[in-house]
Amino acid sequence: MDARYACHSPEHVIARRQFLGSLAALGAGTMVGGLGAFAAPAVADQLKSDQKRIVVFNMAGGLSQLESWDPKPGAATGGPFRAIPTSVPGIQISELLPETAKQMHHLCLVRGVNTSEDDHGKGAYLMFHGRRENPAAEYPQIGAAAAKALAPADSPLPGYVLITPGGAGGRGNDSAYLGPKYASVQLGNGKPPQNTERPQNVSETSEAARQNFRRHINDEFLSRRRTAITEAFTYSFEQAEQLMRQRDVFDVSKEPAKDTDRYGKHDFGRHCLLARRLLEKGITCVQLTHTNYDTHNENFNFHIEQLGEFDRSFASFVADLADRGMLDSTLIVVLSEFGRTPGINQHLGRDHWSKSWSICMGGCRIPRGHAYGKTNDDGTAVVDGQVDHGALFHTYFEAMGVDSTGSFVVDGRKMPIADPAASAVSELLT
C-alpha cells in the first residue's frame, strides 16, 4: 500500500516502532502461523487510541433531505414538518430528529450533494465506491478500502464489519482487487458471525490439536510455495479461529442493560449499540443499514416511523462516542443512495432525487457543528458548496488521515484509493 498517513508526529513514529518491536519479540513463528500479536496489552491499547475508524449509516432507499438535514418549512415542497433549532445556533434540522439536534455540535451537514444518479443500484454504487460503475473495473467499497488503509495488518479481528437488518450473515463480495481479507464480515441482524461456535462434540483439546496440525502442515507448505492466494487462504483460517475465540466481541448482550434502554430495544437500537462495541474493540469499519426510506407513498408517515427509530439510537451513539473521546479517531457518515424529490406526489410521497440532497458527517478532521453547502428556497437545486460522490469519498479518507490521492499496491500495480478525477472538499477538513 502506498497510502500516506497524515500524522507524522514523533509520537506516532515512536509508537509504531514500539508496536513493530513488540511484534518482533513475539517471534517469527507467531507471524507465520497465527495472529497472536495482541497478546501484548500495551500495544493493543496504543493502537486503540491511535487507530482511525469509520462508521457508515446507510439510510437504505433514499432518506428525504427535507425530512432530515435540509428542511424547507413553508415552501410548497416543504411538507408538514417544522424545522427545529439544534445545539448549534443557526443550524436547524427537521423536527423528526430532536435527539440528533442536541448532538449537532459534534456533527457536520453537507447540504449540497449532487450525484446525478436516480437509480437505486447505481446511486448506491457511486456512494459506496466513490466512483461511477464501470463494467471494465471493480472497485472496493468504502469499508474494504478503509480496512486496507487503516486496519492493523495483523489484527485478529476483521477490518470491515457489516451489520445487516436481516439475513443470516456471511462474507461480502465487496473488496474487489483488495482480496477476500478485506471483504466484509456480515452480521445478519446483528448476530455474531456464522459458524463461530465450537461444536459441542469437539473438545477444546481436540480443537487445539486440529488447529496445531493445520498450522504445521500449512507452514510446511508455505515454506515451499507462497503466493497471495495461499496467504489469503491462511488468513481466512486464522481469522476464523480468532473469530471463534473472540466471539464475545460481537455479542451486544454484554453491553449494560441501561445502554440497551437508551439506544432503544428495537433492532436498529441494538445494531447501533453493537456498532459502538465493535468500534471500541478495534474494528476499523462498521457499516449498518437502516431501512427503508424509499417512500414513493406516504413519505411523511413513513419518515415519522423510520426516523422515530433512527433518531434516539443515532443520537445516543454520537453522544457516547463524544463522551468516550472516540470522535477524534472515528469518522461518522450518514448517507443514502440519493435523496428524495422536493416535489410531493399525489400519494404524499417523494420520489428519487439526486440533484440536491444531503448527508451528515462527524468526527476525525470533519468540522464540528457546521453546515456546508446550500440549496435554494424550495430545495430543487444546489446554490452553494456543491459536492458529489467522488469528492466525498476523497474527503472521508482525508478526514481519517489517509492521503486520498495515494494508491493501494496490488500485485505490484498501483490502484488509486479514490477517483483520481476528483479531490477532497477542503472546507470539510479541519
Binding site: E298, F302, Q306
Partner: protein
Amino acid sequence: MATTALDPKQANIVSQWAYERPLLACRFDPAGKFVFCGAENANLVRFNLADGKPTNFAGGHDTWVQAIGFSKDGAQVVSGGCDGKLSWWDTAAAEAKPIRSIAAHAGWVRTLDVSPDGALLATGGNDNMMRLWNMADGKLVREMAGHERHVYSVLFHPSGQFLLSGDLMGELKQWEVATGKPVHSFDAKALHTYEGGQRVDYGGVRAQALSADNKLLAAGGLYKATNPLGAVNEPLVLLFDWESQKVSKQQTIDGITGGSISRLRWLGDGSLMASCGGVSGGFLLFWKPDAEKAYHKLPFPALARDMDLHPDGLQVATAHADKQLRITRLAAKPT
C-alpha cells in the same frame, strides 16, 4: 334530505375549484354554505359553495391542516394541524383570525369529531392519545390512553355516550365518554400490514361511519399491501355488527390498485359511500350493506384525499391532490 332524487349511479361532477396548493381535507359546514379545506400549507381554506371563492384562514397553524369540525350551530369551525394545535375560528368571518389556539397533541392532530350535543371535541394524534376538549372554551376535559400507535380516526356515537377510535395497527376501540374507560374492541387488524422486507407498519383505521340505525359500524382503509412504500394495496371496508363487534362483511372492489379509503359516509338510501385513491386517479365508491363488492364507482381525474357529504345528502365535496376541490351531485343531471 332529498332521498327521492338520490341515485349514486347517476353521480356527476358539478363544480371544481382550484386552490394554490394540493388539498388534504374537506368538510361542509352544518349550514351547507361553505366547504372548509386543509391544504399543503398552513391555512384553513374556506370555499364559498355559491361561487367557489376561496378565503384563507391564516395564523392558526404553523403547518398543514388535516382535521376539521364545527360547533353544533355551525358558527365556529375548529381546525387541527400537523403542528399539534387546535384553532377555533368564526365560520362566516370576512377576515378570519383564530379565536383561540391551543397545543393539543405532541405531533400531528390527525383526526377530530364534535359530540352530537356540540359540547365536546374529541381529537386523536401522533402521541397515541385521545383527548376530549370543551368545545366552548377549549379546556381539556379528559385524556384517554390505550393506543400504542398513531390515532387515525375518531367518531362519536350518535347517542353521545360512546367514542370510537382507530389506529395504525388496526385497533378499533369503543370508549365510554362519561368515564373515559374502554368498553369494547373491534378487531380491525385486517386494515394493518407489517411488511417485513420494508420494515414498515402501514394501513390503519383511516375512516369510520355508523349506519343510520346504528347497527353497522364501517371501518375503512386498505389491505393487500404487498409494497407499502410504492402504494401497492387495495381499498377495504370492514362492516362490524355493533352489538357483537364481529365483522359481518368485508367490502372490496376489483381493479383499484394503489387504493386506500380516506372517508366513509352512509347515504339516505342505505348505501355506504367511500372516497378512495388509486394509482392513476381517485374514486367515489358505493356499496350496499349486504354486498361484498361495490355496485358503482365514480372516477376522478386525481386522487381524492378526503370527502364530505352535504347536509342535503346529495352533494359531495372531495379534496384532491391536483389542487382541485370538486363538488359531485349524487343524482341525475338536470334535463
